[in-house]
């Protein structure tokens, strides 16, 4: 069920220059939201800019009736959004679109995120973590600062607030393992996240080494702090993280979830296609209506009956698509 409502700004947290976490009070929207879905957000009050802006649902706190966005200031709309303060109202439309299929109970799954692409995947990790499912998360960014060190507490998987030194540690606290890649080598693997992911898949006997090497990089990067340092109860001491998976060599992923820039997703689709792992990726396209009415947000998907492809609506049939369905130019 999708709704049109005025949400109240609970908090706007600056994570880094141009990056924000926006927490909104919207109980009914929060109840209806699933990982991978998005809201179509009216960033200003005037007709400039004219259109709403699509933003993924980044996390929810159902008890408090609150949800969060994680966004980058990319232009006029998001710049207006960044000016919103506690108590302001923002008109939101949603939850919209088809989200991620939740993994079934004992499945081991992987999450591959590029930059701000962590936004919707975080919600998936929050939901699966709360159900006791764990993922191996590969997160890449251009530089270490883009793994964000939030200055203010955020909700835990169980809905309680917690303050962690980084989003990386928030994810660990939800019960997942995470390894990082940066373009400049400032944290974790020096290279792209898809390259790291492919190395991991291609070389089962080398996995243990990859894990320990880059987990150690995570702990020494200052992105993870142990109990005392973090000033909060944290279930993820570096030791616990190392013990997480006893046997990575024989590990198989039942599914891979991805979100990030187009080039990264294309590469991810190629990799999981080669390894025959089912995957789901979240796409972006410019949107008008957000509800399937205007056909602005078309993307090419496989269709054997027609000329081999059809245009699907990212806002309605997506934004999450099975990896094998998307056709790349």
């Amino acid at each position: 069920m999708s709704l049109l409502t005025d949400a109240k700004v609970v908090k706007q947290i600056k994570l880094a220059p141009h990056y924000y976490r926006l927490i909104l009070a919207a109980p009914a929207t929060t109840r209806a939201a699933g990982p991978g879905q998005f809201l179509h957000v009216r960033c200003g009050e005037t007709l400039e800019p004219l259109l709403r802006r699509p933003l993924s649902i980044h996390a929810v706190n159902r008890e408090r009736g609150e949800l969060a966005h994680l966004y980058r200031v990319a232009g006029r709309g998001t710049a207006l959004l960044a000016k919103k303060k506690r108590g302001d109202t923002i008109n939101i439309l949603g939850p919209l679109g088809r989200g991620y299929t939740m993994p079934s109970a004992p499945e081991r799954f992987a999450v591959v995120a590029g930059g701000i692409g962590i936004a919707p995947l975080y919600f998936l990790l929050q939901e699966t973590g709360a159900r006791g499912q764990s993922a191996l998360v590969f997160w890449g960014a251009s530089t270490k600062e883009q793994f964000f060190s939030p200055a203010e507490p955020f909700w835990n998987a169980d809905g309680t607030g917690g303050k962690y030194p980084s989003i990386v540690q928030e994810i660990c606290a939800q019960g997942h393992q995470i390894i990082l890649a940066t373009d400049d080598g400032s944290a974790g693997f020096h290279g792209t996240v898809t390259d790291l992911f492919e190395r991991y898949l291609n070389n089962p006997s080398g996995r243990e080494e990859i894990l320990s090497r880059y987990r150690e990089a995570v702990t020494t990067s200052g992105l993870i702090k142990t109990d005392g340092e973090a000033g909060a109860v944290c279930s993820c001491s570096p030791g616990a993280m190392l013990n997480f998976n006893q046997n990575p060599e024989s590990e198989t992923f039942a599914r891979v979830y991805g979100c990030g820039p187009g080039v990264m997703l294309k590469e991810l689709c190629r990799i999981i296609g080669t390894h025959k792992i089912p995957g789901e990726i979240s796409l972006e396209e410019r949107m008008g209506c957000g509800v399937g009415a205007c056909l602005s947000c078309a993307c090419k998907t496989r269709d054997e009956e027609k000329d081999g492809f059809r245009y699907s609506r990212v806002c309605l049939e997506g934004p999450v698509f099975p990896a094998g369905e998307v056709l790349w130019d």
């Binding site: 007709l47 259109l51 439309l93 396209e285 410019r286 209506c289 205007c294 056909l295 078309a298």
Partner: protein, 316 residues
């Protein structure tokens, strides 16, 4: 407040109903083709029963995949689109969407497009036999398809030929949708009226384009597209004004309507009904808010019937 027209008493609900040829609408507010899908997309946000009519997405004989992406660019107070009439084809409309819409107390106006005059005739014939079609809106003004489309709309004689072909195959009201991308919209309107149209709708989008200065190439996949939204409203109001003076047919006015005030401008210029388009994207309840605002205006000014306002700006 003084009574403008005699014989009305304050507090009585104004009569909002209007006639577009044989089509009777309970109020003058409808949705612009291509901006409201087929109805179900917006049903969660507003009661479709309250609309005067719905105009569905442009329909062609065969399904159409549409144009390459990107298909949408935001411009100052407007948008450029180059959707390219992506639609599932008339048979799907008849098989799926018309039965869906039958649950509502809502006249359905089907917007049709073709590559040839024969296409239009065949579409009219198919829809004449289909249940649940209240009227046809003949799109001779789409800037986003190579063949047909705007070509028909920019040549008064072609426009008349298409109108005659549709007229010949249907008894339903024929509404011809005019393009603003012409030297004289009145010239086209006059010919279309003579060819048997029951009503006119205007305006379709204005041909435009935008360029990405970083990549040094057009922003739309299709290079050019149609401009809509508040930016085009003065052009649309002018078109309605001019045509109202010369042609004695009801007009459905559209182009940049966001609020009731905007809609009233069109009505005062000569539109019998109005359509809300791009504004649906900003506010899914825009059409209802426009309707409520019109009703409030009539009540406040103690005007008993919406008809009294149609073209009133010509008379003062």
């Amino acid at each position: 407040m003084t009574e403008i027209y005699s014989g009305r008493t304050a507090g009585k609900k104004p009569d909002l109903s209007v006639n577009i040829g044989k089509l009777r609408m309970k109020n003058p507010v409808t949705t612009a083709s291509g901006t409201f899908g087929f109805g179900p997309e917006y049903a969660p946000y507003l009661d479709l029963n309250r609309l005067g009519a719905i105009v569905v997405k442009g329909t062609t004989l065969q399904p159409r995949p549409g144009n390459p992406t990107p298909r949408l660019v935001e411009t100052p107070a407007g948008i450029l689109n180059s959707i390219g009439l992506q639609n599932p084809g008339v048979d799907c409309l008849i098989g799926e969407y018309l039965p869906y819409l039958a649950q509502y107390d809502l006249p359905v106006i089907v917007n049709i497009s073709g590559d040839t005059v024969e296409d239009y005739a065949e579409l009219a014939g198919k829809l004449e036999r289909a249940a649940g079609v209240a009227a046809l809106e003949v799109n001779i003004s789409c800037p986003n398809v190579k063949k047909g489309g705007m070509q028909f709309g920019s040549d008064p004689y072609m426009a008349a030929e298409v109108t005659r072909a549709v007229r010949g195959n249907t008894d339903k009201p024929v509404i011809v949708k005019l393009s603003p991308n012409v030297t004289s919209i009145v010239g086209v309107a006059v010919e279309v009226a003579a060819a048997g149209a029951d009503a006119l709708s205007m305006i379709n989008t204005l041909l435009g384009m935008a360029i990405d200065i970083r990549r040094r190439r057009p922003l739309l996949g299709n290079i050019m597209g149609g401009l809509s939204g508040p930016a085009v409203r003065p052009v649309a109001v002018r078109a309605v004004w001019q045509v109202y003076r010369e042609v004695d047919l009801p007009i459905i006015g559209m182009g940049g309507i966001v609020t009731a005030e905007d809609a009233l401008e069109f009505i005062l210029a000569g539109a019998t009904a109005v359509a809300v388009g791009t504004a649906n994207f900003i506010n899914p309840r825009a059409a209802l808010e426009v309707l409520e605002g019109i009703e409030q205006y009539l009540t406040e000014h103690q005007i008993g019937e919406i008809g009294e306002l149609v073209g009133a700006a010509h008379r003062t």
